[in-house]
């Protein structure tokens, strides 16, 4: 069993908005294992960013933890109040990369000085040493001619390059946990693929734990060890990457998978989830997803489902897992996911591996006859 580096118990977070309380996080519990890549997937407003902001004490002024605890290496983070108390943790132990690399860099400071600044502050190195380390980091994150580009400004870098710099800054203080908040959403697909590879590589080398936040399940298939799915402030399903993709149990996870554009059938409509998420100002009765759930039962509108255990690593919060519930199969669209993609992928690469594929195609022809 792997060691837990961060433990969250029954965490609730509320915001005061115009005299009303908005419940952004409701009773979330999770354990982060050492050196894993843990993905948090959800739509905008599901609370995925708010949840991770509590790990570094970066909630907005009007937000506060109303219930529950966060423990990191024997320290109770949920008790920390002042910025002074957070200093040893934020950036140094737990660092965050944000979505937009333009707004997280200072436009009037050189790229190099922004990395060196962090090294000087957190590691107490001299200026010359910091510059050397900064160039090394730029090199590691894939900036060509790092030494020459040390004195350039953010506007001279492309979006993908800027995101590499943000990663370099985050790694400059050797954090134990790296929170990646939609780090690739603003980037082109080709650059997105490269940044994902980079994060995977760096993690192996620097041995940190990664929390990866995204709204797109497709993005995390290649890198996540475990995935948590969030809906209206709750974790509704959590499991290993394979369990979430091949054996999802919550109807919301089914809908998320079904709406992936890669699954669309030519000529037909794309699957879309009906309705909108519930208002977070109101108390939610029963299962939060029930009004949009085609599989909802009467009990879903009346009582909140508990977390049911599917396997030692797989949990889902839906009444469908209750022994008394009728047996419901996941939608046909997401059954045999692996086999379906294997076929389309083979088709896409026909020209690359013509010999092997030809055989497959003949076999298929044969089967059809």
């Amino acid at each position: 069993m792997t060691e837990n580096i961060l433990t969250v118990k029954d965490l609730s977070v509320g915001f005061q908005v115009r005299g009303k309380e908005l419940k952004a996080i409701r009773n979330v519990s999770l354990e982060l294992h050492d050196q894993e890549i843990f993905a948090i997937v959800g739509e905008s407003g599901s609370g995925k960013s708010v949840l991770t902001k509590t790990f570094t004490g970066m909630l907005e002024q009007n937000g506060s933890i109303t219930h529950g605890t966060i423990d990191y290496k024997g320290k109770r983070l949920s008790d920390l109040k002042k910025d002074k108390q957070w200093e040893g943790i934020r950036g140094k132990e737990i660092a965050t990369i944000f979505q937009d690399p333009m707004t997280s860099l200072d436009p009037i400071k050189t790229i190099g000085s922004q990395i060196a600044e962090v090294i000087i502050k957190h590691q107490g190195k001299s200026k010359a040493e910091a510059k050397k380390l900064a160039i090394e980091l730029m090199d590691r994150t894939g900036i060509p001619n790092a030494a020459d580009r040390y004195d350039e400004y953010p506007f001279e870098y492309s979006g993908g390059m800027r995101q590499r710099i943000v990663i370099a800054i985050a790694l400059a203080c050797h954090p134990n946990i790296l929170i990646c908040d939609e780090p690739t959403t603003a980037l082109d697909v080709t650059i997105q693929a490269q940044i994902l590879e980079l994060i995977k590589e760096l993690q192996r080398e620097y041995k940190f734990t990664t929390i990866f936040i995204t709204h797109d399940l497709g993005v995390v298939a290649s890198i996540a060890d475990r995935i948590a799915v969030m809906y209206s402030g709750e974790i509704i399903e959590v499991g290993t990457c394979d369990e979430i993709f091949y054996n999802p149990r919550h109807p919301y996870t089914w809908s998320l998978l079904s709406s992936l554009p890669q699954l669309a059938q030519k000529g037909g409509d794309l699957y879309s989830i009906p309705g909108t998420p519930p208002s977070l100002y109101k108390d939610i009765e029963g299962d939060a997803f029930a009004p949009r759930n085609p599989f909802a039962m009467k009990v879903d509108f009346e009582a909140e489902p508990p977390m049911f255990q599917v396997s030692p690593t797989h949990f889902a919060k839906t009444w469908l897992l209750d022994p008394r519930a009728p047996r419901v199969e996941k939608p046909a669209l997401i059954q045999n996911l692996h086999e379906r993609f294997e076929q389309t992928l083979v088709k896409d690469n026909q020209l690359d591996q013509d010999v092997k594929v030809e055989e497959n195609l003949e076999d298929e022809e044969h089967d059809r006859k």
Binding site: E43, S44, S158, G159, D188, V189, T190, I191, Q192, A193, Q194, E197, H215, D216, L217, G218, V219, A221, S222, A224, C241, D242, F245, Y246, S255, L256, L257, S259, L260, P261, Q262, L263, A264, K266, D269, L270, Y271, S272, I273, T276, L337, H338, F341, E342, L345, K347, D348, Q350, L351, D352, D354, V357, E358, L361
Partner: protein, 319 residues
């Protein structure tokens, strides 16, 4: 091929778009040639900086062109037009923008935002008629008439994009240039917006020029796809043809970057990186050639030979 029978709505010939003059001249788009047929969805796919949006804007007349022609419905539109012609073209070609929060006037009601085009072109008989038109379109995009008197900030990203669509479609356009209309949206909202665009196409035989950077999205919606890089179209084919037989190394690299939502395959996947230095164009100059009916590629003579060979082998393999 069925494509040959369709009539051409928009035609670009040897299009070049440049910014600046003299020493500072920067050619953003060059030698672009393609036709868009009535009723189809034509996608322009490329990375940021490839010139895809610039082409879209040139079609709308926002960016001036430096060479070549844009022909819409048989009339060249990238030159000085008479007032009447200009009115006609600006009504018939509409645009949907990427960022639904930046493209709507924050201080105007939804009612005004949607009717602005009607006011500018006098497309209504009476106040009643205008209201009826606006109400009808807002219901068609899945919003409610009561939303008309609200302001853009009161809506979510997906709803705002619906307003953007309503604003474009109330003009009864023939061609809609959709510039990354779903990039800023959540996966689940994307599906709703794409379905909506498809619905309008079925109902009124709309033509779309769809601009995107992600091949997985355009696979579902497009009839034909053009891949663009550094202002040049590198490959153009019908959707299934492009996905089945991607010939240009850049197209293959783009395809390899599409995330696969399947953990087992995603872990094994190799990412192809495109290096333009792989082409040796020092002696043989490349051009845009048709290697198979409807399948165009930017290549020089030896490369063209190679691509034809690949296609032949593949065709034999299947039969």
């Amino acid at each position: 091929m069925t494509v040959n029978k369709k009539d051409v709505l928009l035609s670009l010939r040897d299009l070049e778009i440049s910014f600046g003059e003299g020493k500072n001249k920067f050619v953003a788009v060059q030698d672009v040639n393609f036709d868009i047929y009535r009723g189809e969805t034509f996608s322009l796919v490329g990375e940021s900086g490839s010139g895809k949006t610039t082409i879209g804007r040139a079609i709308l007349g926002i960016n001036p062109t430096s060479n070549g022609t844009i022909t819409f419905n048989g009339t060249q539109i990238n030159k000085k037009l008479s007032h009447h012609q200009e009115q006609d073209v600006s009504r018939k070609i509409q645009m949907i923008f990427q960022d639904p929060s930046a493209s709507l006037n924050e201080r105007a009601t939804i009612d005004y935002i949607i009717s602005e085009g009607l006011y500018n072109f006098n497309l209504f008989d009476s106040e009643e008629d205008r209201l009826q038109k606006v109400t009808q379109i807002i219901e068609e995009v899945g919003l409610l008439p009561e939303h008309l008197y609200r302001y853009p900030h009161e809506f979510s990203g997906g709803q705002r994009q619906r307003i953007g669509i309503a604003r474009a479609l109330i003009m009864q356009p023939e061609l809609v240039v959709a510039d990354e209309p779903i990039s800023a949206l959540d996966v689940s909202i994307r599906a709703q917006v794409l379905n909506l665009l498809k619905k309008f196409q079925r109902e009124s035989n709309l033509t779309y020029l769809f601009i995107a950077h992600d091949l997985s999205v355009v696979h579902f919606i497009s009839d034909r796809i053009a891949v663009i890089r550094n202002g040049r179209i590198l490959e153009l084919a019908e959707t299934e043809e492009l996905f089945n037989n991607p010939l240009h190394p850049y197209t293959q690299a783009l395809l390899s970057a599409v995330p696969i939502p399947d953990p087992k395959l995603a872990r094994e996947k190799k990412l192809l990186v495109y290096d333009p230095k792989m082409h040796d164009y020092s002696v043989d100059k490349p051009s845009f050639v048709e290697v198979k009916p409807g399948h165009f590629i930017y290549a020089n003579a030896p490369e063209e030979e190679h691509y034809r060979q690949l296609l032949d082998e593949q065709a034999q393999g299947v039969n």
